[in-house]
Assembly symmetry: C2
Homo-oligomer: 210 residues x 2
């Protein structure tokens, strides 16, 4: 008694949904009532798809990205340059960089970044497997493409120090004024960085606008 | 090829989530990646709870609210006044009114409101079953508690006309200035309505503030 929900089945489903990140109890109720209005078959398909995903998804043994097979489609692609590794946090960043169509090398998915507050240390991430890849040879360059935050920088330095033992170039993606931004409104740290890291400008410079 | 997702299993799960109302593809991916990080057991429980809810949930045969049994806990509660029926759109409104603790009668859940734009007519709603309840006798009052919108008013008038054939009082919940609102900022339609529908003020008036 005294539960605001008229049905325990409904309440359980709302509880499950509201455990998902960013989903509050009101949104959870709205989602559950939506599913309740759908055909049983559709809800069944929804549940089965989630289960199948959780049970069958694997990770690429090389770059640790989510994959349907032991080697992901990017690592398996012979037309890509396996000697350049772009280090990212998660699958979302791989998708974002792939969307730019400016990178034809391979990736290394760390599975997060070093964050003492969240209890995530280097050993929780795929850093030693990155070192192994570099150690095995054939790697020319490692590009650090982590978040431009304190945690990202901590992770950048950690990886940089680990890789200093090997003959590999370590670079970091450019930090500067976003394309489309007006200089007046850029924050001072970003603007300062964009001046320090200025690049040569000549006829070959690619003018890109949003 | 050319799917931005590194895995078909992942993409299917994202597709399923993004079909839910208010969930875009980015949010869907975030939810799916969250589930992927959970124990298989937890994801299993999530899926099973949804399925069980969809398969086993029933509706109260009297008020048509969501229920775990043939008669919902409100209709079955002998301490409540079954001769007063509060007409609402959905289960959310029942929960909202129950939360006020100002109503001890019964409900009638229409399952929506008349909305020609969405193709919802009177026959799609539980209006004839409301008429049956009133026809069967023993009902003193029907309180209309639908949205204060064009669709809500259309439904209010439709129900009002249907019930005119019976000796039942039809009332509508008060529309006026929200508790806590400053008069200056109330919209003019609401303010005008609150003047027209003014109520007597004396010692018995309940002063409520948020």
């Amino acid at each position: 008694m005294n539960s605001p929900y008229p049905s325990a089945l409904l309440e359980n489903a709302v509880n499950e949904f509201s455990r998902l990140p960013g989903i509050g109890r009101k949104t959870a109720l709205r989602l559950v009532l939506y599913l309740l209005r759908q055909d049983e078959e559709k809800v069944c398909h929804f549940a089965e798809t989630l289960l199948k995903m959780r049970k069958e998804i694997t990770y690429c043994s090389l770059c640790h990205n989510i994959s349907d097979s032991d080697t992901c489609s990017i690592c398996a692609d012979r037309s890509r340059d396996g000697s350049v590794i772009c280090v990212v946090e998660n699958v979302q960043e791989v998708m974002a960089i792939e969307k730019t169509m400016q990178f034809r090398g391979s990736y290394h998915v760390l599975g997060g970044i070093i964050s003492p507050i969240d209890g995530i240390g280097p050993s929780d991430l795929e850093i030693s497997s990155l070192e192994e890849r570099v150690k095995a040879g054939g790697i020319r360059e490692v590009i650090l493409a982590l978040s431009a935050t304190m945690e990202g920088d901590t992770t950048n330095f950690y990886i940089y120090r680990k890789l200093q033992a090997y003959p590999v170039k370590v670079s970091i993606i450019a930090r500067g004024v976003s394309v489309g931004d007006e200089i007046e409104y850029a924050d001072e740290v970003t603007l300062g960085r964009s001046i320090l890291n200025r690049t040569p400008f000549d006829e070959s410079y690619k003018l890109v606008t949003k």
